[in-house]
């Protein structure tokens, strides 16, 4: 059991972590949510599909739910905002902070569809299944989200 868990963790932790990060834009929260996602995987390891790519999709679905639940609570969002202001800046220094600023301006509901489309290369229909949304909703979010990001990027470049 542990060897299979280790194999899948090593194979997909990066992808799941990046998906979660695209939503939270916070390193510590993303680590917590990654742990929660793989905890669920470990509990359900015998009930899951055999194909690795199907497991990856299952992990994406679980990670999405974990992220949504995480931000549902009023209390969590309140504490996160304080936590974020106080702690997170130290981590951001390691990343491309201009692009991070652009991403922060994008509403959370657009971030995951864009990540799954542009980074993971999933089709709109597959993203709709992973995120449990209508195909048309996902298509619209990818389109609008990209337009918003492009506009914000242009503004950032103008500043330079």
């Amino acid at each position: 059991m542990d060897s299979e868990f280790n194999r899948i963790f090593d194979l997909y932790n990066k992808d799941i972590y990046r998906l979660i990060y695209s939503y939270t834009l916070n390193k510590q929260e993303s680590k917590d949510l990654l742990q929660e996602t793989f905890m669920k995987f470990y509990k359900n390891i015998y009930k899951l599909p055999k194909e690795d790519l199907e497991i990856k999709k299952w992990l994406f679905k679980v990670a999405t739910n974990c992220c949504k639940d995480h931000f549902k609570s009023f209390w969590k969002s309140k504490v996160i905002s304080i936590d974020y202001k106080q702690i997170n800046t130290s981590y951001i220094e390691n990343f491309d902070s201009d692009f991070e600023d652009v991403l922060k301006k994008l509403n959370r509901k657009y971030r995951m569809p864009i990540y799954l489309y542009y980074y993971e290369g999933y089709k709109v229909e597959e993203i709709a299944t992973i995120l449990k949304e209508n195909v048309s909703t996902i298509r619209m979010r990818i389109f609008r989200g990209k337009e918003m990001l492009k506009k914000e990027m242009e503004k950032e470049y103008e500043k330079i």
Partner: protein, 243 residues
């Protein structure tokens, strides 16, 4: 490749965990699962004896103290407060209004604890905190604001309540800090009740949260370590009194 897509890919290529962080997460998961298994198969008679002995000791020292919260994974607090039997239209509350403690007591028909540190301050409806059902108040959170500037104070004191109109499946108010924490229980003598305090240990700037339940209102404190320490939080907790 287009500029947008390239920037996007480059950015996420750099989002990685270190080897140590991955190892830590893996170990936490495996350890957590194994601990649960060990507990599951532990000898029932041993547990029975322990519960009996511990129960006896606690019974002698703190027979009246009932904790209305559960701490999970060292950084999540689930509060167990009952729903209040109040029947008030959600329209009477507004995010743009400021309320004195007395005004809120009259408006909601409840008793709110005094705190000598903030008694001249106002309360404000927490942003997006009002949950209504059938246009009645189902759940709400009020936060303290500074008397003169009407800005949120740097240590926030607030309280929340839920009513019989609250019917979400998850019947808990929960409090959470990301990352490693210290958890402490603090006895508030003036109220004969216990508060839970969670302190972020990740940085000198992280938050300290405290929470307790009194008359089914959940009182919360959010302080930033940059300006306050645990003793300050103890002092604030000790400043609560019945009105």
């Amino acid at each position: 490749m287009k500029k947008f897509e390239k920037s996007y890919k480059d950015y996420f290529d750099n989002i990685n965990l270190t080897k140590e962080e991955k190892m830590e997460i893996k170990q936490n998961i495996i350890k957590n699962k194994k601990n649960k298994c060990i507990f599951k198969f532990a000898s029932i008679p041993t547990i029975f004896v322990c519960v009996f002995l511990i129960g006896g000791i606690i019974g002698v020292t703190a027979n009246s103290l009932v904790r209305q919260f559960k701490v999970q994974d060292g950084n999540r607090v689930f509060i167990e407060n009952d729903k209040l039997d109040i029947d008030i239209s959600a329209d009477i509350l507004s995010e743009s209004k400021y309320y004195t403690r007395e005004a809120l007591e009259n408006l909601l028909g409840i008793k709110i604890l005094k705190n000598s540190k903030i008694d001249n301050n106002f309360y404000k409806l927490g942003k997006n905190s009002l949950i209504a059902n059938e246009n009645k108040i189902a759940k709400v959170y009020f936060e303290s604001v500074n008397n003169e500037s009407k800005d949120a104070i740097d240590m926030e004191l607030g309280f929340s309540l839920k009513t019989k109109y609250y019917n979400e499946v998850e019947e808990t108010e929960d409090m959470w800090i990301s990352g490693p924490t210290n958890v402490e229980y603090y006895y508030i003598k003036s109220l004969d009740t216990e508060a839970v305090i969670i302190e972020s240990t990740i940085a000198d700037t992280g938050p300290i949260l405290a929470s307790f339940v009194y008359d089914n209102l959940v009182y919360n404190i959010i302080a930033i370590k940059l300006s306050y320490n645990i003793e300050d939080v103890h002092n604030i907790l000790d400043s609560y009194s019945k009105s």
